[in-house]
Amino acid sequence: MVKISVLQHVPSAHLPTRPGDPTPTSRNLDPLLHPFSRARERTRALNAVKMERMFARPFVASLEGHVDAIECMRMKPGSLSEVVSGSWDGEIIKHDLSTRTKGLTISQAHKGKVSGITYGQNSENVLSCGVDRNVKLWDSEGKALETFTGKTAFNAIDHHFTDPIFATASNTVQIWDETKSTALLNLAHSATTETITSLKFHHSEPSLLGSIGSSRTFTLYDIRSSSPIERQIVMAFQNTAIHFSPLLPTQLLLPSEDHNLYTFDLRYLKAPTEIYKGHVASATCAAYSPTGLEFVSGSWDRTIKIWNVKDAGGPSSNISGGKSRDTYHTKRMQRITAVCFTPDAQHILSASDDGNMRIWKADASKKQGIVTARERAAIEYRKALIGRWKGDREVGKVERRRFLPKSVYQAGKLKRTMVDARKEKEDRRRKHTREGEGKKVAERKKVVVTEQA
């Protein structure tokens, strides 16, 4: 007797049982039923990366109001929407990001430019300093509550994270109490002639203060100690600002006039932990994301760049350390003077010479607004695909390529040529020197010149 069975599909098993039910699906993972799976996945990855670039529209809005170039800008602590800025004509404006409207305006807050701005102990109050040698404390109505007078023009101001004291930078670093009209402390060497251009308090070690001097130095102070200068490092080039990482208390970030940004480990100041290259003009400002995994930098070359912090343990990025994740620019944006992240790490603010403040998305292609679960799943799948296929030539090319303004592109090309030529010359010179003499110096070792005692 022969056993016979013939394959048959019962239609009722493959059709919806009641009208309105979803049609049942069946899966068979046998690779023979899925030919070209690799090539098809690559096509999907290519589509995904192209879609990502297509959706990359980072510019959100521009906040107008200032007539002259904006010099400084600060987000209100604990607020997602309020930002205050000071400009070269001495005007201070508060903006609301959520409604994109102008709030309080103080015209002629200072004579000459407003060089620094920060919030007071009571975060309704604003502290501003100007080149007119005054620091002023403003209340929420725009009335000057207090005026602190210094001997020289002020360049920067920062408030302590907890105590009602603030620090100013002029030809010296001074610590002030909000309630006293004279400075509490004078931190800098009396012997030096350098001007302090920027300063910042540390987040997690609140008595630690960092400053940038005009003679290529950066200095760390402990404001509690009797001899406050802890470390003073002389670098090869002038830095423009100092920032402390909110995630890694030991990390500090220095945008520099040699077009690069440097991160240092506080415990080892002989060489930077990483050099971030990419700008083609002086990096004028920078700011950490509140997550500490990335930071943004603005430059004299009219672009904003976003970088992943090396070894911060962020989402594994496809950009290796030292290269920017993204570059933002727009036709009418001039030289960047100040940048900051919003406290939700979703947006970036930039202030520039053209008197406008601009809001950008931190992730250029991220969808704003409500995302349904299915859409989110699709977005995550696309992200995973890109991560998997980024090594493919075409996919990687689309992913990495950024179109830059012509001037920036040309300057970058010229810079690359010059750097290459310099390297080549160095190589040739080394080849023709006596053995053991022309030792190669690592790029990182060239950054720090010396440490001053």
Binding site: M1, V2, K3, I4, S5, V6, L7, Q8, H9, V10, P11, H14, L15, T23, T25, S26, R27, N28, L29, D30, L32, L33, H34, P35, F36, R38, A39, R40, E41, R42, T43, R44, N47, S204, E205, S207, L208, L220, D222, E230, R231, P249, T250, D265, L266, R267, S316, W389, D392, D420, K423, E424, E426, D427, R428, R430, K431, E435, K439, K440
Partner: protein, 620 residues
């Protein structure tokens, strides 16, 4: 500053940190043995990951066989190594889950089983099969008696719709399961082939002069005038390409999504007698009048493979979709033989036998049943025996046979996901049941016989989005996503060692890989060993031993001073001494190799200086 660091005990100067890590590790290990008081309660000491976790049922299982996961211990970069290990773990997990999913698939394959030696499957007739199959399956056995010459048929990818074409212009498409006719056309001219495009909504007919494309309702949409006198059609569903070959011997590819004629290849072998596609790599197989079979891709102007298969015209070609994705090909020739070929090795057929009644039609089913229609009957053969190499030219054991009185048999088509073979012949078409021929479990994302209108539309859009570019069609499909081949660039050091003269490229301008090689930092230990992965047989032990031995051999001589010097020397400098030493070591290695060779061949190695008299020596 140090006071600050000291106060914040999480932050310690770098110099001390290393030690601190070691001590804390040992402390934690001692703690685990005897939890004491305060430390035992302090959960913040360890990560929260250990306290919180996903439910076990939702967790992806760890691969049960740890040896399946590659370790990549030769890679020094820790980050890269971790990533690679994570990937290989993921792959192992995916494999295990695939095995699980196979267990869950519900459909059962059809079969024909005999109880003892004396019973033969080929004695079982169609009526017996149909009566014992019953229900839905019995509907598969059908006879369509039609006028208008020998008929050909073609199924859609999901096996639900059938298109038929008669030689004298009778074309029809219908849903054979529901029994609804989509369209019926009387084209009043010679028609040679028919094929569906991506689904049942369009089909192409090779008519007397040109190819015509019709929609589901039989409205003529396009006339492809660049395809002249077409004889055979094939549609590549994942590339959206319609391939045709005509009497003049030109193979033409037309992109049906853009309408553009992609490429035309001149075969230079006259009118091809047969054509098929390999469904797994989209290569077109053509059989020619002079007995050759050629394999074509759109990217090569000449055949990728040319094979003399038969001593007469090649009547029919078919590729096995079941076994390792298109490994076997069957051909039949005018010389009355049927041959099975291994597509990886073209040296002679795996198996060949002769049939009665002249040239045959051949076709494979999804589960590897080979149907051969010749003379007055259709014979089928099953999978393991048909692939087994066999020397004498005897017919393989027969699985089923079915007489067809209407000669000639012009087409054989297995219905996808069914145990049905549709035979086109002079008197119409007949369908027979071949138990075990069809794949029982379909995948709704690829081809679903029960799909509704909405999912058909969805699949059409998705298919267009995932259309593979034609330049990816190659014999080996796995090249997408594999590593690029190494460059042939010669570095300075290699050149000086081998005595070649290359232009002086400065170190800074060398590509990164070359710079690493020059400075001795390149990771050249990467060995992709496929045999390691498949090494589950008994000689695994031996292999491991030999690997150890290899390691040992590698270690020997590491302590030599020259090599030590070189190891210390791997700075980014092209150092003349280092170069000289590398050269010297290379020479030594060469001498050693020669000595070893001499020892093997038994001849004493004599060091001989080149002499001017050498040219007068007799060549050996």
């Amino acid at each position: 500053m140090d006071s600050l660091f000291a106060k914040a005990d999480a932050i310690q100067p770098l110099g001390k940190k290393r030690k601190a890590v070691h001590s804390s590790k040992s402390a934690s290990s001692s703690k685990s043995t005897k939890p004491s008081g305060k430390d035992a309660d302090d959960h913040t000491l360890s990560s929260i990951v250990k306290r919180t976790s996903t439910p076990k049922s939702l967790r992806i299982p760890e691969p049960s066989d740890a040896s399946q996961v590659k370790k990549y211990s030769h890679i020094a970069n820790k980050k890269l190594r971790t990533e690679l290990v994570r990937q290989s773990t993921h792959n192992a997990q995916a494999k295990e889950m695939l095995a699980d999913a196979e267990m869950l698939s519900m459909g059962e394959r059809g079969m024909l089983e005999v109880e003892n030696e004396m019973e033969k499957t080929w004695r079982v007739g169609q009526s017996e099969i149909a009566s014992s199959a019953g229900g839905e399956a019995a509907k598969g056995k059908q006879e369509w008696k039609l006028d208008g010459g020998p008929y050909k048929s073609r199924y859609t990818k999901n096996g639900r719709h059938l298109a038929i074409i008669g030689k004298h212009g009778h074309a029809a498409t219908f849903d054979w399961q529901a029994g609804t006719l989509h369209t019926e056309l009387h084209l009043q001219e010679t028609c040679r082939d028919i094929t569906f495009l991506h689904d049942q909504s369009h089909f192409a007919v090779a008519q007397k002069k040109y190819i015509y494309i019709y929609d589901r309702d039989g409205v003529e949409l396009h006339c492809l005038k660049s395809h002249i006198e077409p004889t055979r059609l094939e549609f590549l569903p994942y590339h959206w390409l319609l391939a045709s070959v005509g009497n003049a011997g030109y193979l033409k590819y037309q992109d049906t999504s853009t309408g553009q004629l992609l490429v035309e290849h001149r075969t230079k072998l006259g009118s091809p007698s047969s054509m098929t596609q390999n469904p797994h790599n989209a290569v077109i197989h053509l059989g020619h009048q002079n007995g050759t079979v050629t394999l074509w891709t759109p990217n090569l102007p000449h055949p990728a493979v040319r094979l003399l298969a038969h001593m007469g015209p090649v009547a029919s070609v078919s590729v096995d979709p079941s076994h390792e994705g298109g490994r076997y090909m069957a051909t039949s020739g005018g010389d009355g033989t049927v041959k099975v070929w291994d597509c990886r090795n073209w040296k002679g057929a795996v198996r060949e036998w002769s049939t009665r009644g002249g040239s045959a039609e051949v076709t494979w089913s999804a589960k590897g049943v080979l149907a051969v229609g010749s003379g007055g009957s259709v014979n089928t053969y099953t999978s393991p025996t048909i692939h087994a190499p066999h020397q004498d030219h005897r017919q393989p054991p027969l699985y089923l046979t079915h007489p067809i009185p209407h000669r000639p048999i012009t087409s054989l088509q297995f219905a996808p996901f069914q145990d049905i073979l549709t035979i086109g012949h002079a008197d119409g078409l007949s369908s027979i049941l071949v138990p075990g021929a069809g794949e029982p479990n379909f995948d709704s994302t690829e081809a679903d016989p029960f799909e509704n209108k909405k999912s058909r539309r969805e699949r059409e859009v998705r298919g267009l989005l995932e259309k593979i570019q034609p330049d990816l069609i190659t014999l080996d499909t796995d090249f997408a996503g594999s590593l690029a081949p190494a460059t042939n660039l010669v570095t300075q050091t290699q050149a000086t060692l081998s005595g070649k003269n290359v232009p002086d490229v400065p170190f800074a301008k060398l590509p990164r890989m070359e710079r690493l090689k020059v400075s001795g930092k390149a990771d050249e230990t990467e060995v992709v060993s496929d045999e390691d992965e498949s090494g589950d047989d008994d000689d695994g032990e031996k292999k491991r031993a030999s690997k150890e031995e290899r390691e040992k051999r590698k270690m020997r001589g590491k302590g030599k001073s020259l090599k030590r010097y070189l190891r210390k020397q791997r700075k980014n400098v092209i150092d003349p001494t280092a170069v000289a030493i590398r050269e010297k070591l290379g020479k030594q290695r060469e001498q050693k190799r020669k000595a070893a060779l001499a020892a093997i061949s038994g001849e004493p190695m004599e060091e001989r200086k080149p002499s001017a008299l050498d040219r007068f020596k007799r060549a050996k």
